[in-house]
Amino acid sequence: MSACDDCLRRTDLIAAMSGHLQVEFKRRSAPGNVLALPDEILLEIADAPAVRTRYAAFDPHAARARATEVALTVICRCDSAYPTRLSDLEDPPAVIHVLGDPSTLQHEDALAVVGARRASSYGLEVARALGRALSAAGVTVVSGLALGVDSAAHAGALKAKGPTIGVLAGSAHVAYPARGWLLHQAVAQRGAVISELPPGAACQRWCFIARNRIIAALGAATIVVQATRNSGSLTTADFAAELGRAVGAVPGLVTSSLSAGTHGLIQQGAPLIRNPADALELLANITGRQYKAQPPAPQLTKKLRQLLEAIEAGKGTLGELATTPADARLALVALDELERLGLIRRGFGGRWERTAGVRS
């Protein structure tokens, strides 16, 4: 696993002219139009002596040393370890910097799960459940380590045994956002955190869009959990569609702006993802492999089923679930049983909520 001098030089060039590229992105609208350009044209775009000097004086050994120093593995597109999925892009990253285990990137069974940063508790719950179930079925969960849905998907995946890949816009060894450092660490340990830009590169707005194309390319399909009409997650879906990859969407409340983007996707024909089984089916259709199904739904007693149905209907407090103290006493025992079965969880504000995981 290594990177050739040319690819490293190109990566350094992109990092050096990160600011110029932000302007160029606005002009050319699509990132592919910019990142696919050869070095010479990029240098012309930058049109800055400092960039040219740096390009001419580039020292690949120093670049490799800088990456090794922060425990990053560099893999360039000329290397055999370079993920084949990324080569599908018309503008594949010249070099990817990997924190963690690079072999994770070769997994065929990978799904991207992305969504809004300002997600609702429903969105977080669905993302968590998807992450967990996919991971349990041996599928690699690819996401962007951002707040909200991304983090929830990673966290869900970590709860089961499968690997997960986080794609960052900036350097792979620096947690972004900083408060997610714990998750960043855990993902790097379980799978990999990767980035296109070398350590120390300035992170511009275009980097996040460019990052989304890597997420879309690494997943065999992309699932959008919650997205507003202008959400960045929709760019991931667009990239996936351009690559000819499937895009699935999780429905939400029609009254919520967080559903506008996902419902838009469904309207355009994206398959409906209601639960992990739907996601696995989508993946199975692409790879042609079978994924082991969900653990069978547990057989519930009549009492537990009634209680579960009440919670599904939106009742979430003892006051709502029981009418007499004696009832409440019984409900307390039953609630613990349901919680242990993973059917409900104590959610926001102490209310009991139905989990999105196991179907009954």
Partner: protein, 505 residues
């Protein structure tokens, strides 16, 4: 001549003996008070002079020196007026010294010679008994409170003149004030609560084990109403507890005149703007705070997220140790603070905390972060309180306080029996070691607890908390051993603050 009279200074929640020494000798007329006396004590000179003259006694026009011993103890307040006046009467030969032998005197004087009530009568009477004094002379208004202490002759007087006549034996001591009428401050009744029947078992458990309770819910759903009714289902105060509570309330000046023993458990609900000193005690000289006023009762913190961080942090020691030590200058004071903590809060800034909530995740996180911390770590039970629907309001009436209290008392008795010979009195105070040794937890219950520990990624403290509550649930069921069922109930009531790794915001 020299005269010496015993009196008492309130120090924290105790009274310490102070000698008032008066010396009258030839010289230019002067009146000096020494012995670490504060302004109110030095002003006593004027009150004593006027009161003596207006009561028909002579005020000695010579050089008067009064010393308050021990000199290191700070003397505060007007309660030294009366002993000072008596000391002067003795020193000026207007009263025989033997009349005030073995006698402590305390009280404030008005210029007319009338005697006003003072704070801390019970503590003073206890101090007098400890000092093996035979008689305590104090304002009649607080005589009934002092009379709660046995083996000491309580003389309640209304004026300086009456005092002199009584100690001389000219008159029989005045009669005790009348028994105060049954005061209307009845405990709020649990059956006033409507539409919250589902919460009753949780309240019962909290009361039975003395567990700290956290009520979360939108505004106006009845969190405060429920909390106010907790004292009515807690076991009645024992005689010793009642004396403790009476002493504290008397020192804090919360008691009406002529009130006897406190019979109801205190319920304190400080406003959220309270300072740390107000909450746990402080000031100079140190005064008891709300935590001490709630001793043996309930401390209710409404709108927990609005309290200042330092105030809440200051509750750590009181919660852990059942007492708080205040150091001010040269004074160190310990106040008892064993209370049940009940906190209430909105689940999020907008207060709705359900699907209708429009709060941004960041706001919710900030809100929760204000709540989190060492205080939440000591919350044993979390219950969500929701607005009851209209038919529940009509139909659901909570059981009577007395009914619930009966069960709570039975459960407490089991605990006391189990904890015989230990300082702890209820399950909430048990350490994990005690739980292991005395808890009698069935292996199956322990196994279930282990399962929960892994499933919910509990902390060690969270693990112990569930076990403590489970022990109480078993006690309420009249069960000697803790069964898996009890652990299940405790788990459903648990306050779970273990965050998901990426509780995204």
């Amino acid at each position: 001549m020299l005269a010496r009279i015993a009196t008492f200074a309130v120090d924290g929640v105790d009274a310490r003996r102070v000698w008032v020494e008066a010396d009258i000798r030839q010289g230019l007329p002067a009146f000096t008070v020494v012995g670490l006396a504060d302004k109110a004590v030095r002003e006593a000179r004027e009150r004593v002079r006027a009161a003596m003259i207006n009561s028909g006694y002579e005020f000695p026009l010579r050089r008067i020196t009064v010393n308050l011993a021990p000199a290191y103890l700070r003397k505060v307040g007007p309660a030294f007026d009366l002993p000072l006046a008596v000391a002067l009467l003795v020193a000026s030969y207007q009263l025989e010294p033997e009349h005030v032998d073995d006698c402590a005197v305390i009280g404030e004087l008005s210029l007319t010679g009338a005697v006003r009530a003072v704070r801390g009568a019970l503590a003073v009477a206890e101090g007098a008994r400890r000092a093996e004094l035979k008689r305590l002379v104090l304002p009649r208004a607080v005589a009934r409170e002092a009379a709660l202490v046995p083996d000491i002759d309580i003389v309640g007087i209304e004026s300086l003149q009456q005092l002199v006549e009584t100690v001389r034996g000219d008159h029989a001591p005045p009669a005790m004030p009348d028994e105060p009428p049954e005061h209307g401050e009845e405990d709020a009744e649990l059956s006033d609560v409507r539409g919250h029947n589902g919460l009753i078992p949780g309240l019962e458990v909290a009361a039975a084990g003395g567990h700290n309770l956290f009520l979360q819910g939108p505004p106006g759903t009845g969190k405060t109403m429920i909390a106010r009714r907790l004292p009515s289902i807690l076991p009645p105060l024992s005689r010793e507890e009642a004396l403790e509570v009476t002493r504290i309330q008397s020192i804090a000046g919360l008691r009406g005149a002529a009130a006897g023993l406190v019979t109801t458990r205190p319920f304190r609900a400080p406003h959220h703007t309270i300072s740390a000193a107000g909450l746990v005690g402080g000031g100079n000289p140190p005064q008891p705070g709300e935590a001490t006023l709630a001793h043996r009762g309930v401390l209710f913190l409404d709108e927990l997220s609005e309290f200042a961080r330092p105030s809440l942090e200051s509750l750590r020691q009181p919660l852990e140790d059942g007492r708080v030590t205040i150091v001010r200058g040269q004074q160190v004071m310990a106040f008892p603070t064993s209370f049940m903590l009940v906190a209430a809060s909105n689940p999020c800034p907008c207060g709705l905390g359900d699907a209708r909530c429009q709060c941004a995740p960041g706001d919710i996180l900030r809100h929760r972060r204000r709540l989190s911390g060492p205080l939440l770590d000591r919350m044993d039970i979390l219950m969500r309180v929701e607005r009851p629907p209209s038919d529940a309001l009509r139909r659901q009436v909570a059981p009577k306080s007395a009914t619930v209290r009966e069960r709570v008392v039975a459960a407490r008795e089991r605990q006391l029996h189990r904890l015989h010979g230990q300082p702890e009195t209820c399950n909430a105070q048990l350490t994990s070691l005690q739980l292991r040794e005395l808890g009698r937890v069935k292996p199956a219950a322990l196994q279930l607890l282990g399962e929960l520990y892994d499933l919910h990624t509990l902390s060690a403290r969270g693990h112990t908390r569930i076990l403590r509550v489970a022990r109480t649930v078993a006690d309420l069921d009249g069960c000697e051993t803790v069964e898996p069922d009890h652990v299940s109930v405790a788990a459903s009531l648990r306050f779970d603050d273990a965050r998901e790794l990426a509780e995204a915001a």
